[in-house]
Amino acid sequence: RVSSDGRPPKFQPPPKPVIIDRKTQKEERRFLSPEFIPPRGRTDPLKYYIERKDMIQRRKVFNIPEFYVGHILAVTTADPYASDKSKRFVGICIQRGGKGLGATFVLRNVIEDQGVEICYELYSPRIQAIEVLKLEKRLDENLMYLRDALPEYSTFDVNMKPVPRMDHEEIPVNKLQVRMKPKPWSKRWERPKYNIKGIKFELSEHKMKAAQKWSQPWLEFDMLREYDTSKIEEKIRKELSEELEK
């Protein structure tokens, strides 16, 4: 090409190709159930390895779906005293606790104006089926404040149909701000220790400021409290994927 100056044109490199690797993107978001991650302590890792073998064995026979706090689940358990010998309970998962085989989750529902919470063990042989009815994450990992919220936020239809999941990629986060019953509450949820983002506090500014007195801003910089689980998680994920494919 002929340029205006007579000098050769300035070299313009071709635009870099943008590679969208679909495979690596899919691998990034894989769910590891929190009860597989061993807590920090002086126990022999052999004990966790053996517990994991048992957990994997149970998962091969019985499907435990991926679920977070805030999902609405229906659990059928075997009961010798019921007429049908089985019981079905629908509720929102408030909390997931415990590590290893003793992992538990608490489901809450309001039935005939009475709040009911049932704590189930994930690996108990009495559980016959766990179905995820609605997938949605909430702003917090612990929804215990629903006990002090208005009952409409904890009522879920017992005969709810499972909501079909559209994307296999993202779990929607429900940014619902819950309205509370008048104080006193079971815990002082406005205090920074609980770090709750899912409540619409209708307290005066003066009270919110007074609650900040109990804040501990040095906690996030405390190095002894850091527990980096990324490497442990990777190892456990590899182990899990290998064993479940067998």
Binding site: T43, A78, S124, P125, I127
Partner: protein
Amino acid sequence: MMPIWTKSGEKHAVTLLKVQDCHVLRYVSKEESGGKTAKLLVGGKNVSPFSKPESAHEIFKEAGVPQKQKVTTFNVTDDAIIKPGTPLYAAHFRPGQFVDVTAKTVGKGFQGVVKRWGFKGQPASHGQTKTHRRPGAISTNKAAKVYRGKKMPGKMGNIYRTSFGLKVWRINTKHDIIYVNGSVPGHTNCLVKVRDSKLPTYKDCNKNPPFPTFFADGDEELPEDLFDEEIFQFTDPSVSFA
């Protein structure tokens, strides 16, 4: 500690005990020891010999076995004598057996009378002057002395204690692990002595145990996991009541 479920859906808590490098060290005959039965010295967990004095090396050199951290005695009948130097495995026990477990309890240091002996102490208010967790009176007027063995503050824990009659639920032969019902004295990863139960209710409980012990180079080939009959195994489908 781990949960374990039975076939009827009940949950029991279980402690895992690992049999780590146990060898028989010496045989002491009835006349030598002066007791009612013969004794076998058994050593646990391997440890480096350089931190022990030369006098402690003798027993292990005779048996041809590395230095052990702990040596215990077991009272044994004459037909159950084992040659020194044989390794002992977890398969020595079978599921359904009952077992006594001895260990040193967790040391709590110097403790007061309320924690150590369970005294009630005194009320928190209503005029108590500087007296809330004290023992109060230690003797009567007529005695004119304090009796020997009076419960007083002192060092608590770090003594040998036994839990009796614990059921063996499961045995892992690959990693040498015994699953024992309930809790066991001692902290995590402490050394523990496991022995057949001496309680009269469990006297005739052992049906065909490996006698005198389980030999690894023998003809018996055991599966990796031995379960008790009542345990719910995770290979089965979920429990349902008929």
